[in-house]
């Protein structure tokens, strides 16, 4: 049964999140250089990874939509993109906070990850503009699916581009990233990552259920009206 399982997952997510918070603040050692602000890393990176996962899921569902005749894939792909965009926005926000805490600036072009997310954020925002300017129907589903697939191709290509660009556009002044994680740090990171992934999944299921209900309701209304 879907319903109890969702509640169970949500509870688990909350528990994990609580554990993660505890571990981040009380168990993991403070970073020598960055101090307290480094703790954002435990949230920022999993959120970024989750965003990638959402976009990947959306692209997979899109691929399924194009290659089979399944009805469900359109909403699943769309929800994936929606979740991904939310987490993408959160990535930008947490990244910005981290940049401010670490280097005193709200934005820096030298963080390849941040720049990549900015490009992706623009791309996937356009997804919604595209989707909502097309009449509902198979045409809209297919075009949305193709767009979602292009997004996934854009990720590695953009990453490469940004890496190349950083050579001549902005010299890497700030060293960052890949902190050498000790055992407890790594544990805290994993718990946090698990919590955020689970949270994302729960949100995905909830939103998908909501969208399906909306669609069924609209269909019923149409059927009653005619």
């Amino acid at each position: 049964m879907t319903k109890p399982s969702l509640t169970l997952l949500a509870t688990l997510a909350v528990v994990l999140a609580g554990t993660a918070v505890a571990m981040i603040f009380f168990v993991a050692p403070e970073d020598a250089d960055q101090g307290l602000s480094q703790k954002i890393f435990y949230v920022h990176v999993p959120i970024a990874l989750t965003a990638y996962a959402c976009f990947g899921l959306a692209a997979w569902k899109a691929f399924r939509l194009l290659t089979t005749r399944g009805d469900r894939y359109d909403l699943e792909s769309y929800t994936g993109v929606h979740q991904g965009t939310i987490f993408g926005a959160l990535t930008l926000v947490t990244g910005s906070i981290w940049a401010k805490a670490s280097w005193g600036v709200w934005w820096t072009w030298s963080s390849n990850q941040l720049v990549l997310f900015l490009v992706l954020f623009l791309f996937y925002c356009a997804y919604f503009m595209l989707r909502y300017s097309i009449e509902p129907g198979p045409r809209r589903e297919r075009i949305s699916a193709v767009y979602a697939l292009f997004g996934v191709a854009l990720v590695p290509v953009s990453f490469l581009a940004i890496r190349l660009a950083s050579d001549f556009i902005h010299p890497t002044v700030f060293t960052r990233d890949g902190p050498q994680m000790t055992g407890t740090m790594f544990a805290a990171f994993c718990v946090s990552w698990a919590a955020i992934t689970l949270l994302a999944y729960v949100m995905y299921r909830v939103e998908l259920a909501g969208k399906r209900t909306d669609a069924n309701l609209r269909e019923l209304r149409e059927a009653l009206a005619s």
């Binding site: 925002c125 097309i134 075009i143 767009y147 191709a153």
Partner: protein, 213 residues
């Protein structure tokens, strides 16, 4: 196989013939790119040097191609000709390829005017920069034809095209500027080649799904 390329040729010829007759898109692109370059002169501070100018060249090229791409599918929309093409036994990807080749021809024609103007107004262009322009043009038209068809299927089409196209064009700009100013242009040219390969294949394969239901 020969049938496929014969179709592509027939379709590309049709687009060239239409433009030759209407003469609205290409002159607009030429004028636009020249005007843009002039605007850039005023936008750059006096001591800016050459590097920023190369960046702006790429901005000019991307936005000029947007102008052309916005009109790419207009003849097909006017009297439902696109349906006519989709109905034909032709491979749908051939429709995309024909349109891409025609768009490329127009973009190159605009560049034939824009590049000498750039050299005249701003800075010289070496072989690497020109190779970058060539590779980037292919990528712009390949992705642009597909994306333009998507936008054409929507209600807000003129507004939508830049929104969909620009994020995809960012890697092209990186590659092009890099090929122009970096000490290792080969890297960037290779990257542009990669971009072209990835997105041309993707566009070629996906076009079918954009024009059918």
């Amino acid at each position: 196989m020969t049938g496929y390329f014969a179709d592509v040729a027939a379709l590309a010829r049709k687009d060239l013939r239409l433009e030759l007759r209407a003469r609205d898109t290409l002159p607009a692109m030429l004028l636009f790119v020249l005007a843009t370059l002039v605007v850039f002169h005023f936008a750059l501070p006096a001591d800016a040097g050459d590097d920023p100018a190369y960046g702006l060249l790429w901005v000019a090229l991307v936005f000029t191609s947007l102008l052309g791409l916005a009109r790419a599918w207009v003849p097909e929309r006017e009297a439902g000709a696109l349906d006519g093409l989709v109905l034909a036994p032709t491979d749908r990807s051939a429709i995309w390829l024909g349109k891409t080749i025609a768009s490329l021809a127009f973009l190159v024609a605009a560049e034939v005017v824009a590049l000498p103007a750039f050299v005249l107004f701003f800075a010289p262009l070496d072989a690497h920069a020109l190779a970058g322009v060539a590779l980037a043009s292919v990528g712009i038209c390949a992705v642009g034809s597909l994306v333009s068809a998507m936008a054409a299927a929507s209600r807000g089409r003129e507004v939508l095209l830049p929104l969909i196209f620009l994020p995809l064009a960012i890697p092209i700009v990186v590659g092009g500027v890099g090929a122009s100013i970096s000490e290792e242009p080969g890297k960037f040219l290779a990257f542009l080649g990669l971009y072209d390969a990835v997105f041309a294949i993707l566009s070629w394969a996906a076009f079918e799904y954009v024009v059918t239901e």
